[in-house]
Amino acid sequence: MFKRLQIEDYLVALLWIGVAVYGSVINDYAASSTAYYILNVPMALGLAMLWGISGVLSFGQVAFFGLAGYTYGIVAGNLLSSPGLAAVAGIAGGLAAALVLAVAFGYFIFYGRVEAWIVPIVTLVMTLILATFMGQTAGYEWKVGEVLLGGYNGMTNIPPMNVFGSDLFGRALFYYVLIAVVIAWLAVVLCVRSRFGDVLIALREDPLRTELFGHDVRLMQLLCFSVAALLAGLSGVLYVQWGNYITPDSMGLLQATLPVVWVAVGARTSLLGVTVATVALNVLSFRLSSSGNQYAFVILGALLVVAMVVPTMGWAQRLSGLVGRRG
């Protein structure tokens, strides 16, 4: 196992240690902001695995993010009498919802063996439809148990994470998010630096040849898509536990762009690059939008274009190369 790890994996591990230390010296408010900056890392790493490693591009990661967030809100909101159970059941429900949608949707696209450009288009359409659906759920007839779906205004008062009877806020929430993110990162490392990961790379390079070597291409792609969806779902759950609300905009066209920008700027195949780019761009968008700057999406769009045009492939790999290569 350790033989397969690359230098950049150790660098990411160092990064997490650094973040953990940083979280212990800042105040409660800053810790809470930092939790927000890192909670999208699982979604980005999932897309990096799907697009960078295995060559399947999805524009629909935010659909799993939003679905998991809403499901957490519904499940946890109906179990208010026992907050600890509510949080656990909410997390399980949210992840399960993302997984079910991914498997159902992935079945049609991967077992149909569609051409590569169809996957991003269909996942984007799925996302927009989900967003439109949630947008029209205003009013009292859209009530699941005790919880209102809330239409365009979104779902509010979503219960926070609760451990042993106490709600997590500030620094405690930060450490909880950090642990979840590190677990997600370890899961991705486990997938990518294994035989499964080798097959994913082979799929990206030459699907036909991979199939002739006896691998079930359709199943592998579906598996990878499902793992990426679970990771996006985890980000969605963490997001609602952090902010206690979610709106259909979280699945809108603009939001759907963000994971693609993070991964493109992070050079796609590099887990270190994607992690750093995700955190950095989240800090940037948070700063820009909280100061009411309208150029945020122009800047993100320009970043996307530049990241694709300039062969950035591997700025993070080059960095790891400077530190030295294993093996």
């Binding site: 060559g55 051409e115 169809i118 359409v125 993100l300």
Partner: protein, 289 residues
């Protein structure tokens, strides 16, 4: 009788809407296997050009024609600066055009504000018995059909069409026989963009003219393209708009627009599960070869 007319009218407007939204995309996809995610924003530019001209006194028909050429020029610029770097790398091209779409939409918001003056619907409305309809939508249905006929003429009766089809089928062989494939790509991209601008201008009177207006066409246009596939432009356009409006119309009538779009998505998912290369490839294989 009125009921039948009403259903036919609904079907026709749905099909015309899909065809107009998607035709530019289909032309580009069929030729270079590139999906232009800035398509909706090109439609927006078409509507912006039409609206500004209309309100400075130019007749609407002329506005539409100017929009075609204006957006075709934007397309040439896009192709020369960006798209040509991505031939053969479809996923990267998708991502780049998405970046472009963000810049265009948010740029339009910053430059021109949240709304532009709308264009009144020309021609008024007519009635047959209890069934009432808009003459403008009838005109759009006719125009959509004329557009397909025009494309057929372009592809099957002109020298450009011959070169374009040769490039589509066998790029290297066409190149060896002296076809300037780079130019064919550029002109095709210009044509597809121009068609987007034309569609944007034509639909401008039916909607609000705003920076993010392109978004409303994204889902229907892309479902149409996915269903049609890239094998044959004419067969793809007619086949998938016909099929999808058949799926959409009853659901729209019974349950509203949103369920209509969901029905379209599900129909197209089932279709690509059965025919992964889209309807156009199937039509081509069954009837055209």
């Amino acid at each position: 009788m009125d009921g039948v007319l009403s259903v036919l009218y609904q079907f026709g407007t749905n099909a015309a809407f899909l065809l107009l939204s998607a035709i530019g995309l289909i032309v580009i996809l069929g030729m270079m296997n590139i999906i232009n995610l800035a398509h909706g924003e090109l439609m927006m530019i078409g509507a912006y050009v039409a609206s500004s001209l209309y309100h400075s006194g130019v007749p609407f028909a002329a506005c539409v024609v100017v929009s075609f050429f204006a957006v075709a020029l934007v397309g040439v610029a896009l192709e020369r600066v960006l798209i040509r770097r991505f031939y053969g790398r479809e996923l990267q091209a998708l991502v780049v055009t998405w970046g472009v779409s963000l810049i265009l939409a948010q740029g339009a918001l910053l430059a021109f504000g949240p709304f532009l003056a709308s264009i009144p619907i020309p021609f008024g409305s007519g009635t047959v018995g209890t069934f009432s309809f808009s003459w403008y939508w009838i005109a759009l249905i006719v125009l959509a059909l004329l557009l397909v006929a025009g494309l057929w003429f372009l592809y099957y009766r002109t020298a450009f069409g011959l070169r374009a089809r040769a490039t589509m089928q066998e790029r290297e062989m066409a190149q060896a026989l002296g076809v300037k494939t780079g130019r064919v790509y550029m002109l095709t991209f210009a044509l597809g963009s121009g068609l987007a601008g034309l569609a944007g201008a034509l639909m401008a009177p039916t909607t609000t003219i705003a920076p993010y207006m392109g978004q409303q066409y994204v889902a229907p246009a892309f479902i149409t393209v996915v269903t049609g596939g890239s094998a044959n432009v004419i067969a793809g356009a007619l086949g998938s708009t016909g099929f999808l409006s058949l799926a959409e119309t009853p659901f729209t009538i019974w349950f509203g627009t949103f369920i209509g779009i969901v029905a379209m998505l599900l129909a197209s998912l089932v279709l690509i599960r059965l025919l992964p290369k889209g309807l156009s490839e199937w039509i081509q294989r069954r009837w055209l070869s």
